[in-house]
Every structure is written in C-alpha cells, then in structure tokens.
Subunit: 193 residues, 2 copies
DNA sequence: AAAAATACGGAACAATCGTTCCTGAATTGG
DNA sequence: CCAATTCAGGAACGATTGTTCCGTATTTTT
C-alpha cells in the first residue's frame, strides 16, 4: 500500500542519543535535531511525535544498550574483580580520550530532568535499581568465588560502586583530563574489595 | 546624588541561587527571575547585566558560601573523621528532607554547562581543586592525629571523598529517598578510613 | 494504471526566549 | 530646589523555540 521508510529508525535514534547526550534536553533545539538526524522536520515529528517523546525513546535505547553490555561483561567474566576494574578503566579512557567528554547520558538526564519530568525520573530510578542489582549479583558471585572480600555485604558494595561510577562520570563531564585524579579514585575504590 | 538601591543585591543573588539551583540555567527563564527575585526587568538587567552574568555571580556566591562553611567545619573540628562523617550525614539529611531535592548547585552546573561555557568550566574546575585541597589537608591532619588510617595517601583519599560526595548529590537530584541506600554507601566509604 | 501511503523541503504558526527601551514616580546628595 | 540616579511597570524588540501544515515527489500494493 504505502511507501517504505527511507531511513532506519534505530539509526536515527542513535543520532538523537548523540546530540541529546552532548547538549542535554533543553540545550538541544528542534533545528539541532533536524540537522543532526538528517531528517526533515515533518518526518521527524511524524515518526517520533514530539521532542519529549523522542528524548524518552533515546534515553531508553541508551539504557538498553548499556545494560546489555554490562550483563554481557559479567556473564563472560572469569574474574569479577577484574571485570569491575575494566568497567572503571573504560570509563576513565572515555573521560580522557576526547577533547570534550559527554559523561553518562543517564547521569546527565537525571541531573537535568529527573526533578521536572516524572517519566524521566522513573527511567532514571529504574535504571539505578537494575544496575545496582547487576552489580550486587556480580559481587555476590565474586565473593563466592573468593575473588572479592566479603567483609562488606554485596548490596552495600553494589551501591558504593554505583555511586563512584556516577561521580566519575560527573568528573568527566566537568572536563577533568588529569589521569592521576581518576587513578587515585580507582585506587581507593578497589582497596575496598 | 542618587537614589539608593531599595533591594539588597546579595539577597537578590540568594534568590537567584535558589531558582537556578532548582531549575538549572536553561530551565530558568527571564520571567522566572523577575517573579522570583521580585525585581523589575529593568532593575534586574541594570544590576546584573544579563542572564549569564547573573548565573555566574550566583554560582560564585554559592561556591564561596560552601567553601567558607567547609573551612569553618574543619577548623573547629576536634576529630577529623567525625567531621567528615558529619559532611556526608548532612548531605543525606538534605537529600531526604524535602519532597524534591536540588542536589548540589555546583554539580548540577558542571553537568549542564561546563562543556559549553568556558567560564563555568573554570569555576567548576577551580572549585574542585580547592575542595580537594581542603579535604587533603584535613585528611593529613587526621592522619597525623591518628584519627584516620594512613594506609591511603591523603591526596588519593581526598579525591575519593570528593567523588563520593558528587555521586551522592547526583543520587539526591535523581530523587532517591531511601535512607538505606545512602547509609550503605556511607558505610562503605568510611570503612576505608 | 490507479490508489494509498510516506518522504521530503520549506513555509508558517503561535509562543516564548533574552533583552532593550520608554515612561513616570521616587529618593537621594549637593 | 535641583540634578542625578534608581525604582517599577510595561511595551516592544528581533530571534528562537517547538510544532503544524502544505505541496509535491516517490514508492508500494491492489
């Protein structure tokens, strides 16, 4: 009956993630989206509804991508402690590599929008819970295998890890480029395991 | 010669801090400022120049207030470790008390603006250095007094503390209201000292 | 070939943005 | 009193905001 879509919706969403991640919700204009997604205004609004809906869809997609890779990492990990250090080391690498760094899209969105948009607040809060659970299960497994000290209970440690991850992403977003700063933090974190 | 100002500039700045802190830079309109500061548009622009200048002045004032109280806390502290716990406990209390929580104005501004406004980036970065130094000196003093373990060097510990403080403020901004979450994080943090 | 559906560019929308300016009244120091 | 300055209020600015709509081209299915 009808003409097929010429663009790939997921690819467009990935583009939307990029620009929302970089500029934030309020900092991204409709024109920015048109320019960056390469879609016409009409296609954009026909496909995604409005700016807020597009943002929510972008954030959910970002969340899924991150959770998937996090789960995959722990599933394939032989040593949990090593896997945890890999996560942080990767965050540090990302923080240092570009001239500018975008931090974490979820953290940025939490700070900018969670107070003012209940839908975003729910996504952020759910994400926090899920990541916390992933960390918690990983820590438990690590403790069972004797790879992680069991002086701290797994839940506390998971929340602690999450907190430091957030902190590092803020540091990156703030433009910190001194590797020593990150390394000092990591040293302290992992002295606890 | 001239009529005296009817409003107190510092009080107006405190009002500006409140609303910028709550809504962010891009989320606060000129009309919001007029309504909340209780000044006319003309007085506002005559006094502070423009929105960005007002924001910078607000953020600097917020910074000074925080640094002053931080310095005062450590100067009067008999036990450094206790003082550090007080800082975090206070942050937790603030996070839980209001229905909505604003987090930390400096952290919020870092996430929203540091990438896009060099002037803000400099304030954020300077603040980070100063707070880090305050923590570092405090930790050193605590280690000398035998109140804090000297297994970690003071600089690392200071950066670690700063990182967790940022993380907690993000958590608060994200709307976390479960005291147990904060307590778990604090327990892990202070198991390191 | 006809009909249905979608893409596209761009015009156009009302609303809001940050900012400037004008007015007239109020208050101050000389 | 005079001159200078600041006040409040509101009109008005051009620019940009998010969004809608139109006309036309293109592609698909019947």
């Amino acid at each position: 009956m009808a003409r097929t879509k010429e663009f790939n919706e997921d690819q467009a969403l990935d583009k939307a993630i990029e620009i929302f991640w970089h500029k934030g919700y309020n900092g991204t204009s409709a024109q920015d989206l048109v320019n960056h997604l390469g879609l016409s205004r009409s296609s954009l609004y026909d496909t995604f509804g409005d700016k807020q809906k597009l943002f929510v869809k972008s954030l959910k997609r970002y969340q899924k991508q991150n959770l998937d890779s996090l789960n995959e990492l722990f599933e394939n990990a032989e040593n949990i402690k090593t896997a945890l250090t890999e996560i942080f080391k990767q965050a540090v690498i990302e923080s240092l590599q570009d001239r500018i760094t975008k931090g974490c899209f979820m953290v940025n969105s939490a700070v900018e929008l969670a107070m003012h948009d209940p839908e975003i607040a729910k996504i952020v809060h759910d994400n926090q819970k899920v990541v916390e659970d992933i960390f918690c299960n990983a820590v438990k497994k690590g403790q069972d295998l004797g790879q992680i000290s069991d002086k701290q209970d797994a839940r506390s440690l998971a929340r602690f890890i999450f907190n430091n991850y957030s902190g590092i992403r803020v540091l990156a977003r703030a433009g910190e480029k001194d590797k020593q700063v990150y390394d000092d933090i990591l040293k302290s974190i992992f002295s606890l395991f």
